[in-house]
Every structure is written in C-alpha cells, then in structure tokens.
C-alpha cells in the first residue's frame, strides 16, 4: 500500500479543478499554475527517487487486492516518463504565460492543460489495461478541448479529423480489451502477462495483440496511420502543439512498449519482426513528409513521425540494449520536440509567418534564438554530444547485435534526412538575406526563450551526463526484458 503512486495523477487533477473555480481571476490562475507545475515536478522527482531506491510502488485502489482491484504501478519506466512529462509541463506553462492570447486563457486553457497532464501521467502509471483506456480518454477529452480552443477555421477543420480518428481508435481499443477479457478473463496487466505466458500466446491471442498494436499505432502515429497527425498538430497555437507533439504520441509508444514487453512476447518472430518493418516505413515516410513542406511548424510536426519510428525499431529488436535505446530516445524526444515547437513558435511570432520562404536573416538580430535552434536541430538529428546521439547509438548497437542490418541502414539514412529537413529551417530562416521589417528587428522574444533554455539544458545534460543516466536506463531495460519483475511487484502471493 502506498498512496504516493497516485499523487502524480491527483495533484494536476485537483489543480485543474481548482483553476475552473477561479477562472475569472487571470493573474491568480497564472500564479497557481506556475506554483503547481513546480510542486508537481518536485513531488514526482521525489517519488522517482523513492522508486529508484526501493523498487516499484504499487497502489491498490480501494484496498482491493491486486488482480481484482485497480492498481496504480509506479515502476522505474513509468516514473522516468512522468518526471519528463512534468518537466515539459513546467516549460509549457511558462511558455503559455508569455505567448497565449487572453481569449484562450479565459476559456479554461490552464485547467485543460492540468487535466491533460493528469491523463498522461495516469496512462503512464496505470497497471490495468482497462484503466489505460480510461486515462487515454481523460487525456483525449482534454486534448479535444485544447485543439479547438480559439476556434479558428483551420483548427475546427483539423479537430474534426482528430476527434473522428481518436473516437474510432478508442472504440477499437475498448472492443479489443473486451475480446482479451473474454479470452483470458482479466484486464490486470500483471495477471494478463501470467495467463498469456501459461498458454504461450496461442491461437487468437496474437490477433488480439495485433489489434491492440493497431490502436496504439493510431495514437502513436505509426505508418500508415500517421496521416492525421502533422496538420492537426500544427493547427492550434504553439504551446498546445508542443504539448501534443511531446506527450500524446509518446503515450501510444509507451503503451506499445509496455504491452509488448510484458504481455505479448511469445511470438517475437511474428509480432516484433512486423514492428521492425513498420518502424522502417515510419522513419522513411515521416522524413519525406518533413522534407516536402516549407511551413516551419509542419516540418517539426512531421519530424514527430520518424522519432516514433526509431522507438518502434528498438521495441522490434527487443534486446536489453535496444530497449534502453528506446527509453533514452523516448525521454530525449519528449524534451526536444517541445523545445523545437517552442523555438519555431518564437520564430513565427517574431517574423509573423510560418512560411520558410518569407523568413531569412533572423540570426542577425536574434542571435540567441538562432544558436538555440542550432543546438536543438543537432540534438534532434542525433549528433554527439547531445541526448539524441546516445539514444540512437544504443538503438543501432542493439539492432546490429541482433543482426537487423536493414533497420540500421534505414535509421542512418533517416537521421541524415532529418538533419537535412531541420537544418533547412536554420539555413533559410536564420541565415540568408534579412527580410525583417524594422520593427521586427527590434521585436523581443518576450521571455519565450527561458522555457526553451530549461529544456535544452536537459538535453545537453542527458547527452553529456550519459555516464550518470545510462546505468538507470539500462536497469529499466533489463527489467523490461524480464517480465517476472513487474509481475512479482504487482501480484504478491
């Protein structure tokens, strides 16, 4: 019994509810949001340190013993992701203070933001497949609210697509959970793992696994289910795009990682081989999309897709090294995607357009912004010494060890093209002939760079401090390869 495990969900939820009450006092809302994101970060870091020292915390809600009640499992993997989520929440909150217009703030932006954080944390922490669905719905509800916030024409058009695709995948999700329940008679992930292991994933279980994969692939934007993502993620204001890009797809990837490292691991030659092909196509098609456009925000949005492909490759290879790479890359990508969206948003705020062809010469008057973007671009492409390099290196090393040379080649080509797509922004936007109007030259970044700096410090720390972080991440990956650790933590006989 430990109530600590529920706090990462409860605190944002309570804050969100409180913010609805005091919605009229705008300054108070901002002050409380600002304080609570830091409190959250402190609390989850503390819980994380407890988890890393003493092993997973398991909360049996309502005191019902594990396979029967609902469990919240704060293990190392979940806590790493929850801490990253809250880090991004801090940066997003402060970016929102600086960039969001008053109308959107009045229509409950900060409350929805807190609910989104609660939903994402819940999805990471739950130890129950049906509850995973519930938390998916919580975060989707919040994201529906956020994506239409402001109600511009483009947002309304994209939100319709977004809501339809997510409704469809939610229906498929709950149907699949029902299928699974009718076959094995439980939705508790630990007990599912035990029971699927008993029958060695025979018969219909693999079909159910693939259905589940399709659901998560839709949420996580894998090939060929990514078509809805770039435009709907780039329609809302920058801070909302950053939240979506950094958190939502990663929840899908996390679900795949959890389900296919814990439960369905007895038909590796079929399911995980299939993942590697999917990963290869995802990387290639995502990058091609990123190269095809001149809209800076769309380039960053398209770059979400190959990143998901890299993580999938690690899950597909399924060795301890590759999984460590996936987790490293997951954390890195959450941070760097938020940072890139913020940077691109700042660029657009200064130059007044998202179109790359109309920008140019920004670095002359905004050198800090330019060099920050350069660092972020290098980190995204995975050049040393930044965090992306460590993740990609581990992934490719794992793939080579297991003789998956095809995906290594695709990964390397993909990285190169990612670098090309993102450096295009740098070359055209920051270098080249200056096209700023005089008042734009003097325009200040309006304090938008502080949250970005915070995120960039963490990517550099993750890269340079790999010596410090790597053993922990490798430990998580080792425990993922051996499901019995998770099962024993949840079900105590």
């Amino acid at each position: 019994m430990s109530n600590l495990a529920i706090l990462p969900i409860l605190l944002p939820l309570l804050t969100g509810i409180m913010l609805v009450f005091i919605n009229k006092q705008k300054t108070l809302v901002k002050v409380i949001t600002g304080i609570m994101v830091f409190v959250n970060l402190a609390v989850v870091s503390w819980i994380g340190s407890v988890v890393f020292q003493e092993g997973p915390l398991v909360l049996e809600a309502g005191d019902w013993p594990a396979p029967f009640g609902i469990v919240i499992v704060a293990d190392q993997l979940a806590m790493v992701l929850v801490i990253t989520t809250n880090l991004i929440a801090v940066a997003s909150a402060f970016y929102a203070f600086r960039s969001l217009d008053e109308q959107r703030e009045r229509y409950y932006f900060y409350a929805l933001f807190q609910l989104l954080i609660a939903g994402v944390s819940g999805a990471f922490l739950t130890g129950d497949l049906f509850n995973l669905f519930v938390f998916f719905e919580v975060l989707l509800m919040a994201s529906y609210g956020l994506i239409v916030l402001g109600g511009t024409k483009e947002q309304l058009r994209e939100s319709l697509k977004y809501i339809l695709i997510n409704l469809f995948s939610s229906i498929l999700f709950v149907t699949t959970v029902a299928f699974l329940y009718s076959v094995v008679g439980t939705v508790n992930m630990a007990q599912l793992a035990e029971r699927v292991a008993d029958v060695e994933q025979q018969g219909i279980l693999t079909t159910i696994a693939i259905l589940l994969f399709l659901v998560f692939a839709t949420k996580g934007a894998l090939f060929p289910l990514y078509f809805w993502l770039p435009r709907s993620y780039s329609a809302p204001p920058t801070v909302i795009s950053a939240l979506f890009g950094a958190l939502l797809t990663k929840v899908g990837v996390y679900s795949i990682l959890r389900v296919f490292s814990l439960i369905f691991i007895y038909k590796l030659e079929f399911t995980h081989q299939f993942f590697i092909y999917m990963a290869g196509f995802t990387i290639l098609f995502g990058v091609i999309g990123a190269l095809s456009t001149n809209n800076v925000k769309l380039i960053v949005a398209y770059n979400i897709i190959p990143a998901v492909g890299f993580m999938m490759a690690g899950i597909g290879v399924f060795s301890a090294t590759a999984l460590a790479g996936t987790i490293y890359y997951l954390v890195h990508d959450m941070i760097i995607k938020a940072a890139l969206f913020f940077l691109v948003g700042t660029m657009a705020a200064i130059s007044g357009t998202y179109d790359l062809r109309k920008m140019g010469g920004l670095i002359k008057h905004h050198p800090l912004l330019g060099w920050m973007f350069f660092i972020a671009a290098l980190a995204l492409a995975g050049l040393p010494p930044f965090s992306g390099f460590i993740g990609k290196f581990l992934l490719l090393k794992g793939a080579v060890e297991e003789d998956h040379y095809g995906i290594v080649a695709v990964g390397l080509i993909g990285s190169l093209l990612i670098l090309l797509s993102i450096i295009k922004i740098f070359l055209n936007g920051f270098w080249g002939e200056a096209r700023l109007a005089p008042e734009q030259e003097k325009a200040s970044e309006n304090g938008r760079l502080f949250p970005v700096a915070l995120l960039l410090i963490f990517t550099i720390a993750l890269g340079l401090g790999a010596e410090f972080f790597y053993p922990g991440i490798q430990g998580i990956a080792d425990s993922l390869v051996d499901p019995s650790i998770y099962i024993d933590a949840v079900i105590k006989e």
Binding site: N3, L14, F21, L59, I72
Partner: protein, 150 residues
C-alpha cells in the same frame, strides 16, 4: 414564431410531473451501489426534470427562477468526487478506500450509509452540470448572439 399558443396543458402537467421525476431521481441516487441506480442515472433524471421545465417555460422565466450557472456544477462535482477518494489518505488507507455502516437516523430509521455515496454525489453533480451545459448551449445556439457570453 408562427403559432403563439399558451401550452396550458403542458405547463400544468409539468408542474406536477417535475416533482415526480425529481423524487424518482433522488430514489435512484440512493438506490445506488446495491441496486440499479447511482449518481450517474440520478443526475441524468434530475437534468431531465430541468429540461422539461425549460421546455415548458422557456429561458426567460427559468433564468428568473433558477439563478444557477450549471457550469459551476461540473467543478463542484469533480471536487467532491476526488476529495472523497483523497479522504482515505487521512486514515492511512489506499486511495478510494471505502467504508460503510448502519446508522439510526431520525424519521428514516435504520439506514445503510457508505462513503461510496459521497463519490456518487460528486458524479451526480458533474452529470447534471455536463448535461445541462450541453443541452442549454445547443438550445441557445439559434443564430443570434448568445447573451452574457461570459
């Protein structure tokens, strides 16, 4: 407005029926957790009663009588529901732990009360808030500008 009628039958019937529905919703609410019923369906019934009132009397009259913003019901309900779960922290029990017992109440007599009912109360308020907000904002949306757009 093409047909200006007085709806005498509807209004007279509504005044009686609304109280029947409200009574039934309270019954459903208390029947919860042992028999069919509970906060969700109780809340739906209550908002059904309110909708009937709105149909019979229109916005203007209802806004004079019911001076509540149904939107505030949502956070109130959520707070009650979440805090009922947090309450178990005080007793060192896991989140959402629930306890029950038999009490002797005046008038009603022996009653079975459970803390799950507090959670249900939160659900009840939230459902009323959400349902009424949805229905009223759709009904208000009539091409003309929404007055008091908050």
């Amino acid at each position: 407005m093409k047909n200006v009628t007085n709806d005498l039958i509807l209004k007279t019937a509504t005044t009686i029926i609304v109280f029947l529905i409200l009574g039934f919703s309270v019954y459903l609410f208390f029947a919860g957790h042992n028999a069919p019923g509970g906060g969700f369906i109780g809340g739906l019934m209550t908002s059904g009663a309110f909708v009937l009132l709105y149909i019979a009397y229109g916005f203007q009259t209802m806004n004079r009588v019911v001076k509540i913003d149904f939107k505030t019901f949502i956070p109130i309900g959520l707070t009650i529901a979440v805090l009922s779960g947090v309450g178990s922290f005080l007793y060192g029990q896991p989140f959402l732990s629930h306890t029950d017992g038999y009490f002797h109440l005046p008038i009603i007599g022996k009653a079975h009360l459970a803390t799950a009912m507090i959670f249900d109360l939160g659900v009840y308020f939230t459902v009323i808030g959400v349902t009424m907000t949805i229905i009223l904002s759709i009904a208000k949306d009539e091409g003309e500008q929404v007055e008091n757009a908050e």
